[in-house]
């Protein structure tokens, strides 16, 4: 397949892995611990597991799987709100597929559908708008979820609905923004990260300038990375290179897609429809200031939160869950008390077990090998 296979070339991969090994070997870290690099984006986590990248890296380089899976960081209370809206008889509730299984405190959308709610899987908010056109007597609600990657598409859908004068369409907005979240992680007292792989598709929209503070104030290197396995390896190499040379910069490995200034048209549509919330609740990370967006007052009629009385209940994360510590890279998924026991992909307690981009589900499904190898090595060292 053109424009795909080139980025999965095993010969180039081997060469890159050797360079990574050499580079990592030449970096002196304090206290003899591995260099920890966080991939912020769930898409990267998926690639890393899908291609077995973790197993190819030397022990001195460790990947920490960050908070960039929008399904994973959605708090239970918001899922309950979704279910409450979806269960209204006049509503057709539309959602991306992988949000269907996220557990709420009562039930997931999948369970609500089985109980009779009209919930439909769509592939784009425009599909939801088309449903609204076809069913003028029903209220079609789209479950807006995701970072800056998906925000422009719901903004443009709202603008389209406005142009067409469609009145039975609204968005239940759970969009979140990545920058305040990275900042929250950087501010966390138990932070142990040496660098970041920046989110490729978010950056396609927002550009690379919003990350400058990471290099300038927190003195951490970041490389905006593509999603093919060679992209990921090359970006890891670029982060190591910065560490080795004592540089802290925002570099762009994904230049074939990401422009420094981002996508102006997308940003304008987003700014027209959305404004920042004062704060937004994240699963595992708690409340983070300015980390979510909501529809502006001018578009209130497309806002499901205003249109329907949403219970807006705050639900604490299950006590036994350590999603937050996993998200911040403090512990590995399998160090969590309930990993693989009370919390499995079949019966997820924490959201990280739900989506294939969630670090826990990814480890559970793809990652057993590496984990065993590392654990055995750790035990050997402990002895």
């Amino acid at each position: 397949m053109k424009f795909v296979d080139e980025y999965r070339d095993p010969v180039k991969a081997r060469a890159l892995v050797q360079q990574i090994e050499a580079l990592a070997g030449s970096i002196k870290t304090s206290a003899d611990r591995p260099i920890k690099i966080m991939e912020v984006c769930g898409g990267h986590t998926h690639s890393i597991f899908r291609y077995g990248i973790e197993g190819m890296l030397p022990k001195s380089v460790e990947l920490v799987h960050g908070p960039g899976c929008p399904v994973c960081v959605l708090p239970m209370g918001r899922v309950d709100d979704c279910v409450a809206i979806a269960e209204r008889p006049e509503v057709i509730f539309t959602t991306f597929g992988d949000a269907m299984r996220v557990p709420g405190s009562r039930k997931s959308l999948l369970q609500a559908k089985a109980d009779g709610a009209d919930i439909r899987m769509v592939y784009s908010p425009m599909d939801a708008l088309a449903l609204a056109r076809r069913h003028p007597t029903r209220e079609v609600v789209f479950f807006g979820i995701g970072f800056e990657t998906t925000i422009p598409s719901t903004a443009l859908t709202v603008l389209q609905a406005e142009r067409e004068g469609i009145k039975n369409f609204s968005i239940f907005c759970n969009h979140i923004t990545i920058v305040p979240t990275i900042k929250a992680i950087l501010d966390s007292p138990d932070l142990r990260l040496d660098g970041f792989l920046g989110p490729g598709h978010v950056s396609m929209v927002i550009g690379t300038a919003p990350y400058e503070f990471i290099a300038r104030f927190y003195r951490k290197p970041m490389v905006v990375a593509g999603f093919e396995p060679l992209d990921v390896l090359q970006s890891i190499w670029m982060v190591l290179k910065q560490i080795k040379e004592g540089r802290c910069e925002i570099e762009n490995q994904y230049a074939r897609v990401v422009a420094k200034q981002g996508n102006d048209r997308a940003l304008r549509a987003v700014a027209r429809v959305y404004e920042l919330r004062e704060f937004f609740e994240w699963r595992g990370l708690g409340s983070i200031d300015h980390s979510g967006v909501k529809l502006r007052a001018a578009y209130a009629r497309f806002d499901a939160e205003r249109k329907f009385a949403v219970p807006n209940a705050k639900m604490a994360d299950p006590k036994s869950c350590q999603c937050g510590e996993v998200l911040k890279g403090v512990i590995k998924p399998w160090h969590c008390k309930v990993f693989g026991t009370a919390c499995t992909p079949e019966t997820p307690l924490g959201a990280l077990m739900v989506s294939s981009e969630g670090a826990c589900a990814a480890y559970y499904q793809y990652g057993g090998l590496r984990r065993q190898r590392t654990e055995t090595a750790d035990e050997a060292r402990a002895v």
Partner: protein
Amino acid sequence: MTIARVIANRPRNKVHVPTVTLAHGGGGKAMKDLIDDVFVEAFDNPLLAPLDDQARPELAGFARLGDRLAFTTDSFVIDPLIFPGGDIGKLAVCGTVNDLAVGGAIPLYLSCGFIIEEGVSIELLRRIARSMATAAREAGVQIVTGDTKVVNKSACDKMFITTAGIGAIPADVDLAIDCVRPGDLVLVNGLLGDHGAAILAARGDLALEAPIASDCACLRGLIAALLAAVPDTRFIRDPTRGGIATVLNEIAQAARVAIEMEEASTPLRDEVRAFCEILGLDPLYLANEGKIVAVVPPEQAQQAIAAMREHPLGRAASIIGRVMSGEPGRVTMQTIFGGSRIVDMLVGEQMPRIC
């Protein structure tokens, strides 16, 4: 003329309406006419003809072919009913024939039960029945008994079909999952994932036009050719729902072995790969309806491949993996990229990823 004679001699007008109504499920004249017009006409064979409550094939016919019966059933619900490469009728015949054939059986007779939503057009029903008849003829089986029920609007989605099948297993055939040994090789007869991708594309809600047709086909001929060439074949299964990944996990668990796949030698059509790339799906979990997974002793793998490639349904046969003595139940894949990953069973349905 007595009134009784008048009644007996009156011309019997058939009930002809364009759509199936609840009357067709009432057990009366409308139902009988529907069965005559649509099913008997399409399936026509001596065992069906008496339209008794049961078909009565002779035991001797089975005994001539083998020393054991194989008996299976499957239900078919699919949206859309007609898709590139097949329809629900062809699927209902091939699916059950294949479930018999993968056990090494010679499929002989099928039953079919229809649950039809009122309002379905008779023409559609006739098309499906004829498609079943064609598939049955090609597979060398007869549809010898059946049942029809009509349900209220939205009590079912247009049409559900259940088929059961019975066949004979030749005395010298012994395929069993616990015959699988470390060192054995895992083969498939062609490109994977076509059916799953074709159905997803045919639903039309993806706004993706993919020139992919279902691989729906009856596999008895191919399996017979394989067993003739390699009588020591250990085990065969058809990777339908859940795809190749699920079948390999089932084999690994039941036979208490590990299986290692090579991504580089997983046969996929470019269109299916691209389709999966765009939607964030894993082709290993896509359904197939014309594929087998066969486990054979390593020294006979080339013979098996050659035999399958001789057959029209096995032109792209290839080795996709190896049975190992590693951790029982574990399926791993060496990725094209040089890494290794676990190929697990899915928990539920595969959901397209957000971004």
